[in-house]
């Protein structure tokens, strides 16, 4: 099965901004290898806002860290695969070359802005640091640029705020600072790992609006990692659904939402939190997140899948292009095999 070829969409034969091919990242623990990311492939093109969706522990954050090669080693290790960024495989680069990419061409914002900002360094200084790591701009100019970008990400009284410490800022403002740090170097790709999970709903909406504005104003593509399909529908043009270290569905947001293919996606969509529905009514998916040391045989979702047949526990389903540019890894779409049992 040569999947990577199938992934490139028709009419998009030019170089992708980011192309991940059969990436495997394992964590080697006493219990055995935790296959956090186990052979995933997807592509992001210039201008994309790509949503990577899944429950916590499905490997989406590890994917992000793998792209930047920041997986804690030990115990983590990128076992195989390619991360092709602007035509070059990042996994082949030296640590020094990686440093010139991190924060400059690919920036990342993290889930918890409070713990991701150094608590004892002024926020302006933390932005200056991002600038001066990659350029020789003098400190005075860099500070001015830091204040400017703080204003741009919507922080009022940026000059005063820049001199403050993270603990003096509200949660929303801290995340804006993180975004400012990430964007000040005008990266080609911004990886946002659940940037709004720890924020309350109104602030969440503000930050998402900010990201959408950034998308409209800059050349930066975004890899948006979340467990919230609602956000993806609103923000992203493409998405991939991850389950237990593998991608189970992949396609344009419109296609996925109008015609979800994988049973897992269908169930996730039913569980999308909506403001007009009370919490108790949310449907959650039965069963547990699988153990990634000994993942289920065959399709990893089969123990929780309402449609599972015996064959699902035997054959690992391939990625099948069900409609144009819309893939799912489920045997239901392999008519022959599905009927044969």
């Amino acid at each position: 099965m040569t999947l990577d070829l199938e992934y490139s969409e028709k009419g998009m034969q030019h170089n992708h901004l980011l192309e991940i091919v059969d990436l495997k990242t394992y964590f080697f623990t006493k219990r055995g290898a935790v296959k956090a990311v186990d052979g995933i492939s997807f592509t992001i093109d210039a201008g994309d806002v790509f949503g990577l969706v899944g429950e916590s522990g499905c490997g989406k954050s590890v994917t992000a860290l793998s792209i930047l090669r920041l997986v804690p080693d030990p115990p983590g290790k990128i076992v195989s695969g390619q991360v092709i960024f602007e035509g070059e495989d990042l996994l082949q680069k030296s640590e020094e070359e990686m440093r010139s990419i991190r924060g400059a061409k690919i920036s990342m914002i993290f889930q918890d802005p409070l713990t991701s900002l150094d608590p004892i360094v002024r926020v302006g200084e933390q932005i200056v640091e991002a600038i001066r790591t990659h350029t020789n701009m003098n400190p005075q100019k860099a500070w001015e640029k830091a204040v400017k970008i703080l204003t741009e990400v919507g922080i009022p009284d940026a000059e005063i705020r820049a001199k403050q410490y993270p603990f003096q800022l509200s949660g929303g403002m801290r995340q804006r600072v993180m975004i400012a740090i990430a964007l000040v170097t005008e990266p080609r790709l911004l990886i946002a790992d659940e940037p709004t999970t720890n924020l309350d709903v109104t602030i969440q909406a503000q930050i998402l609006t900010l990201l959408k504005e950034i998308k409209a104003k800059t050349q930066t593509s975004i890899l948006f990692i979340t467990h919230n399909l609602g956000i993806v529908a609103w923000l992203c043009n493409k998405l991939a659904v991850m389950y237990a270290g593998k991608i189970v569905e992949y396609g344009a947001t419109k296609s996925v939402f109008s015609n979800p293919l994988h049973p897992y996606t269908t169930l996730l969509l039913k569980a999308v939190p909506r403001l007009d529905i009370k919490k108790e009514m949310l449907e959650s998916i039965e069963g547990d997140v699988p153990d990634l040391v000994n993942p289920p045989s065959g399709c990893r979702f089969h123990p929780r899948c309402p449609y599972a047949k015996k064959i699902c526990s035997i054959i690992q389903p391939p990625m099948i292009e069900v409609e144009e540019g819309h893939y799912a890894s489920c045997l239901i779409y392999d008519k022959e095999k599905w009927r044969s049992v």
């Binding site: 930047l68 920041l70 440093r99 010139s100 990419i101 991190r102 924060g103 400059a104 920036s107 990342m108 993290f110 918890d112 713990t115 991701s116 900002l117 150094d118 608590p119 004892i120 360094v121 640091e129 991002a130 790591t133 990659h134 410490y165 603990f167 003096q168 993180m178 740090i181």
Partner: protein, 308 residues
């Protein structure tokens, strides 16, 4: 910041009252007749004379008045006179204290200069041979009794190698061995502490975020990890000042360093109680003041403190 400093300084007052109260109680509990202790005289056998002295010294007053008078005397710098030399205690003490502080600060510099770099390297190269050697070495260093270590260093470096003066005070080289002796145990502690604090900090999200900015390992360690790791280290350094002061009593005794510790130990051996009390009182106050200075440094390193 200024407000914080003032607030911290105001804390000296209750501590001073507490320490002086303890000193006062110790004085009251001192074995033997307080008059004889204070005056350093032999019993004359003349009860009327002693009674007159009692009245004159205010020993017949209620205890709280006695304490008030005692406090007032201390505040004026009157700590009585040495029984041995008849010199005012305040003069003996104020001569000795700066020498002790010099020794303590030097030993702290020795400890920091050894402990922090070794601890950082050990944490960055966790589980390396060097890391294991450091862990064993640091606990070993912290287990050495100061007074014995001092004698050993004296024997090797002064007697056999002739590199340093045996003991005494006055020339810069006189401080080398005492400061090293006093500093080595603390160096072991700081090494361990730096190592564990660094290991804790290195796991934090902001370290990962700094790496995601493209900073070099060196940059991340010095600009973010070490600064944050220093916060608990500074706290412990502050506490350790007291233990260094206690250690100075032994090291001064070994190297004949004329500081407050040697003064106190001599006074104890000669039962020169006014000097003993004066030395302990001044040491305690020095201890408290140093801790406040450490607190201020702490607030400087960790901006969160000032705003609490």
């Amino acid at each position: 910041m200024l407000r914080y400093i003032i607030r911290r300084l105001l804390l000296v007052i209750p501590v001073f009252i507490g320490v002086s109260l303890i000193a006062f109680l110790i004085m009251k509990l001192t074995p033997g007749d307080p008059i004889l202790n204070v005056l350093g005289m032999q019993p004359t056998g003349d009860p009327s004379f002693i009674a007159a002295m009692r009245a004159e010294l205010g020993l017949d007053d209620p205890i709280y008045i006695q304490y008030g008078k005692f406090l007032w005397r201390i505040l004026q710098g009157d700590l009585g006179r040495s029984i041995g030399s008849n010199k005012p205690v305040i003069i003996l003490v104020s001569e000795a204290l700066p020498r002790t502080l010099l020794l303590v600060v030097s030993s702290m510099i020795v400890a920091i200069a050894i402990g922090i770099p070794v601890g950082v390297v050990s944490s960055v190269r966790q589980h390396s041979a060097l890391d294991h050697a450091t862990r064993v070495g640091s606990i070993f260093a912290a287990s050495l009794p100061d007074f014995w270590l001092g004698l050993m260093l004296m024997m090797v470096f002064s007697y056999y190698l002739g590199l340093t003066p045996i003991s005494g005070y006055g020339k810069p080289e006189h401080i080398i061995l005492p400061a090293t002796t006093l500093g080595i145990g603390l160096a072991g502690l700081i090494t361990r502490l730096t190592r564990s604090s660094m290991l804790e900090v290195i796991r934090q999200d902001y370290i990962r975020a700094a790496k995601a900015k493209g900073m070099s390992e060196r940059g991340v360690i010095f600009k973010h990890a070490l600064r944050n790791a220093l916060i608990p280290i500074v706290t412990v350094l502050g506490l350790q000042f007291g233990f260094l002061l206690a250690g100075a009593f032994f090291v001064e005794w070994v190297f004949a360093w004329p500081g407050i510790g040697r003064l106190a130990v001599q006074a104890i051996q000669q039962r020169d109680y006014p000097v003993v009390l004066g030395a302990l009182l001044v040491t305690s106050i020095a201890y408290v003041v140093i801790n406040i200075i450490v607190d201020i440094i702490y607030a400087y390193i960790d901006p969160r403190v000032q705003y609490e």
